[in-house]
Symmetry: D2
Subunit: 439 residues, 4 copies
């Protein structure tokens, strides 16, 4: 096969003075920021599905992309051609990691046996390609939402045979992820939700979901997979309502089934906003709950109510996200995955490269600016000062449980507490952040 | 004081043939439905605040209502005049319960001492009025969001003195609730959230919130309050984001602090929709999590992004809500509270009566229709049939933990599982429900 | 071909006592309401596309429906098989009208010539089928959004050849509509909008759009088509923003290009809510602007931000919509089209019938209840009384232009006007409406 | 009165190296950009209402701000004290313009006469203050939404006496605006909408609204006011639905009443997003319709469904807005008004200065970056190239009306048009814009 991306050999850092749109202006993998290289901080990954399995069709329109390797869809030869293009892209784009669903890389087949054989053969192919290219696997996952059998969910299906089929795919996807050195294993429950409460037993489905996740944890230990298990929250779409609505909801689910130390979340920017939260909120919330794991960096459109999966370009927002991540210690096994889609009109092969370059540069810039925020950490300073009362005797005694509600009331009454608020200084802080972003 | 509602003595059930707008067409308190009276099922309550403390002002406009008792707002005489009108209304409207915030019924005063004295004096007044009228207290609560000291939260305030002031109010409000025979005590964290993540420490605030709630539980047991503690979720407004976002979020919070058996939720229809959920969803979710407690029945506007607090009139939706509640065993200590506001143009005293009558009749009708749904329970039948696979050997063995992920995968593979979906019959069920609603 | 819907011969009215789910409980075509038959009032139509061209795939999932006629998609034989099933359905469902896009009924082909030939041949087929079945055409339209050539719009494409291709399809679709006795011709500009303002010239695209619509009007008169031209507003999806956002926006567009007497709107319930309006609002607004034409009755989901295209089941809302339509004189050439989709899990052939039956019964019930609203028209009475001041001398003189701003101010000042509001009685009116709906 | 803002004499430009938070880092009034000074480009205005009439109360909370001049609210002495603080602020903040409602600057009084006298006296005060300070009036307006008489609208009130009272206020506010040299006169119809369609006559209210606006135009010419008349669109809040929903809706209204050459729009960023549009969209749309006038720069919160009126800080978005404005020729009589509110916790007097400084610096920065976009105008270049087909013979002949739909179809058919799309390059353009923003 000839090259699908003939216009570039490998995307390189050229700095802001370059006029080459196929070069990085900010992402310099080896550049050190706060003691680690940019590559180590950002841990970029590209996805197999939107880039190499999607043809540009949407719900109102036919394919627009020229993807010659999709011609024979249910065919191993096509799967190998797809892998060739995928790894050509991973290498040329300088993205160190990739992610896949089982059925992205191998034909789903017409039976469990076909599925297993196809996937197994393609894992061999991927293993060889990883070895020769140096590209690594950030995470694997199983697609339990596209096949019609999953129309009513997989783990939460009313049919235990569907549950079992899903379990089968997860076993093989987890095993493959381990073999390919994947650093995480992700579960996104695209159909784990409901279309109508009229035909749904919420309690039953939740129990099934809990048991499924427990089985995943047991399997992880059984096979000695040392990566992180991740749940990706999403509030709705394709179903009316999904059980993994957002990080706080996932946290409650994990607590219910004793899983809060076994799973972390893979936060997608677009899913945060669909759930009514800012991306920043979801990151900060997951960190505050101790379940932050990894990020799908694709953004939504502020006016559209579905997953537009656009490339992350809002450096202001990304800087605050990066600031939270850095303050929490940075990624461990997680990273920034581009679960991003080209616009349907972006029909040139170069568009795939350009879009990833833009996303990577935006995050690299955000990293640099977040580091500046940390170097002169006026936000931390403000917070320290704002909450300083909790380091006084009163604050500590409350926190330490030395007051009952009544004894505290008596204390407040006898002291005649009459607290007034001091300025939250929100606008001042916003000004200061803009200073770091733009000066 | 002369009567504020001169046009009616007591609102009575007159049936659907009446032309009297100040009569019930459906709410017949003594009528038996599924073995209990309507009054016992519905447990209606009216709120003190929107009805008797609000003057019709909104953020863009001045008061429109003629509420003579509000003239001397910070004054005990005015508070007593307000109580007179409130109880005139409770009695005339045939609503058996009421609800209040501490500062609804008594002036907040200029110090803790004044607060305590004012409130104490008014609790005496309320006690006498309850005794003479037979009106009962569904729940009490403390207003920890209106005074400027709470601008940055109460339990989650950066200032422990504010936390302490809040604790003081809650002690007095809980004690009063107990004394007045209140069947529940509610906590709505109107300012327990953030305006900006830039000046907020989520983890710290969450710890404070957890400790506060633990103190509330301890106090409940200490004073021997036997009612239910309720948290009322709301996602945003007045703050950008509130910690009690929705039932699933509250559940996670309760689990984190070991409180899941101590609190239930008070679900407000309008808050459900602001959180991106249907009212039905929030009710069903709370029930499935075992934390359903009580309901604020006020609906929002589907196109407006703030709490419009309208009276519940959508009998179709209310029927499904009522169905869920009946299936779960009905209210125990909870009930349907009208945390509802008149429209700002509804300036006639009769409007207050008419609005409650409409809400009560809508819920009474929903109760009758929900009972019909239960009598021929095709929804339960469909669910039983749809999930019947979980009663087979395969289903039970999965549920009982007899399979590992791998052994289940092996089982599915050796059996060659190839499940297909059967119809979810959503449209059919919707037709059947409409049949019950309208035939 | 054997029957695809073997379980019914023809859906008939059986009244509310029936247990037959494949019968109408309310839609009795011949029943007279306010002097016209139900069939004449409601003018139901079924759509070709969602029913017979869609396989159950969504953006995250593969087909779930068994639609044998879709097997050979780009093939005339398949198109004829599809027409067989479609007309089997139209006849059996007792729906008097249907609607189609050119490329629903005929393969799009690989060139203009193929398109023309395929479509022409299928129009013959449709003509014969209409004749033998008695099914009539409510409206035809051209699909200018699915083919990749239309990815950047048709009339508003940056490429005049795409504009020309679109014009070609519209000529043929209009001609076919005329020949088949269609009562309207619809234009829905699915891609007439933008994905990004960065590459869009709004003024240029608007000029193109205006010219296109003028050409459509000229062609209508040239061929002597006596039906109504309809524009279907939609705010977004598939594009980020569409120019035909809502009725008020379309009105401004029509006024700009002198087309306000040539086009009416085809209002879709789901598009109304996506635009931030209630369905009721869009209907009432179009009527008040004199551009109300026809309705696509499919509703959305109040919590989902995309076109779910569900069957209309909310009798309360539909009653108010029906009330507005009746008050405006009823449909002329328009009707209620079901631009509705089955849920993806509704995989049984009967589901297609059941869903339409539910929608038709809901609208029939709404018609009966709207007629009751009109018989005792307390809404009109309230409005008459509320605006009665505009029938006084002052009101008439203002309306008739007898005051300048200044002379009116002088008048108000000299008279010392000090108007106060009287109650808007919203809750009372809601109660009364519920009385009609449910008593 | 002593100074309310003692910490600064006058905010000055100090450049990005300053550590003084009470200085401009980017806004250098005299600095020339594309041939005009920053002050001439940006034409900043501060508002009287949120800054000097609002006390920090919200719908759930009491005042938090210390605003001593609000003590005697309905009192001329207080009004003069307020004017002293307002002009102290305007001068110290270096904001050249201000804006007011009639009832911001003068007590509304208890009768028309009192209103007229109070306002007249305060206009004298303002005139003197403008003269001594050099502060100019960007626009005046009348508050036709706060007083209870306007609860059901002013121009669209069911009561013609309310219409007349509104007319009286507008006469006086227009006359005052002329006398004070105001460059525009604004109409924001805060209550010109409906709460419920049940009691609303849309057609009647629209006619009233049209007549009112015509009277305003007539009065403008009568008094020789040479400024611009502006309508400020807002979709909802305080009412359920407002008639001036967005720019496209206002355009249709203007066309209906022959007013499209008499009014322009005052676009508020927050209202754009409440209407489901981006701020950028509303600006670009108004420009494309020829009705762009002025801007209220306050932004909303992407997750909150009400007017949060925050200061504009998103330099990326503001740059694109500024680019559109510059490309359209820049402001004529319009400018950037801060219709902005402090956060309720921003209780320090300095917060008012800091917030405006941040907004001004963000817009100044946006101006500089927009100028860079124009200097190397790759966006215009892309658009020129993308639409170049419309400069070919085919494109011109279509635009010039030389084709009928049929002749164009024949042309396309005979030529065998088979257009394919070329890349829209959205991601590439986003990358390039980010380059200008951040490099
Ligand atoms: Co994702
Ligand atoms: Co996504
Ligand atoms: Co409530
Ligand atoms: Co509420
Ligand atoms: Co439609
Ligand atoms: Co649609
Ligand atoms: Co404004
Ligand atoms: Co505003």
């Amino acid at each position: 096969m000839t090259a699908y991306f003939p216009n570039v050999d490998k995307v390189k850092y050229e700095g802001t003075s370059t006029n080459n749109p196929l070069a990085f202006r900010h992402y310099d993998p080896e550049q050190k920021i706060l003691g680690k290289s940019m590559a180590e901080h950002l841990r970029f990954a590209a996805c197999y599905w939107h880039n190499f399995c999607w043809d540009g069709a949407d719900i109102f329109g036919q394919p627009t992309f020229n993807r010659p390797w999709l011609a024979g869809e249910n065919d191993m030869q096509a799967a190998k051609a797809k892998a060739d293009v995928a790894f050509e892209f991973f290498e040329k784009s300088s993205i160190p990691y990739y992610c896949f669903h089982d059925t992205d890389v191998a034909p789903q087949g017409n039976s469990i046996d076909e599925y297993i054989n196809n996937f197994s053969e393609m894992v061999d192919v991927l293993e060889a390609k990883q070895a020769s290219s140096g590209v690594k696997l950030l995470w694997g996952t199983a697609n339990l939402f596209s096949h019609p059998r999953y129309a009513a969910g997989a783990a939460t299906s009313p049919d235990p045979e569907v549950f079992s089929f899903g379990a089968t795919q997860v076993v093989h996807a987890m095993n493959a992820t381990k073999r390919l050195g994947g650093e995480n294993y992700v579960l996104w429950g695209g159909r784990e939700g409901y279309e109508s409460l009229l035909n749904t037993d919420l309690r039953q489905e939740r129990e099934q979901f809990g048991r499924f996740m427990q089985m995943v944890v047991e399997h992880k230990y059984k096979i000695g997979f040392t990566g992180t298990l991740l749940i990706e929250p999403k509030p709705q779409e394709p179903t009316k309502h999904q059980y993994d609505y957002d990080s706080a909801t996932v946290y409650g689910f994990l607590k219910q089934f004793g899983l809060e130390n076994e799973f972390k979340v893979n936060i997608e920017a677009n899913h945060a906003t669909l759930a009514g939260h800012s991306f920043h909120h979801e990151i900060a919330t997951a960190i505050s709950l101790g379940i932050f794991g990894s990020v799908d960096a694709n953004r939504g459109d502020a006016q559209n109510g579905w997953d537009t999966d656009q490339f992350p370009m809002d450096v202001s927002e990304l800087t605050l996200v990066m600031y939270e991540i850095l303050k929490s210690g940075g990624f461990t096994t997680g990273g920034f995955n581009f679960d991003t889609k080209l616009r349907r009109q972006s029909t040139s092969p170069d568009d795939l490269l350009l879009a990833h370059i833009g996303g990577m540069d935006s995050l690299a810039l955000a990293l640099k600016k977040a580091a500046k925020l940390i170097e002169n950490d006026f936000l931390a300073e403000k917070i320290k000062q704002r909450y300083s009362g909790w380091n006084t005797d009163l604050g500590k005694q409350i926190s330490d449980g030395q007051f009952t509600l009544e004894s505290l009331a008596n204390h407040a009454t006898s002291k005649g507490f009459s607290p007034s608020i001091s300025s939250g200084q929100q606008e001042y802080l916003e000004n200061q952040v803009n200073g770091v972003l733009f000066d």
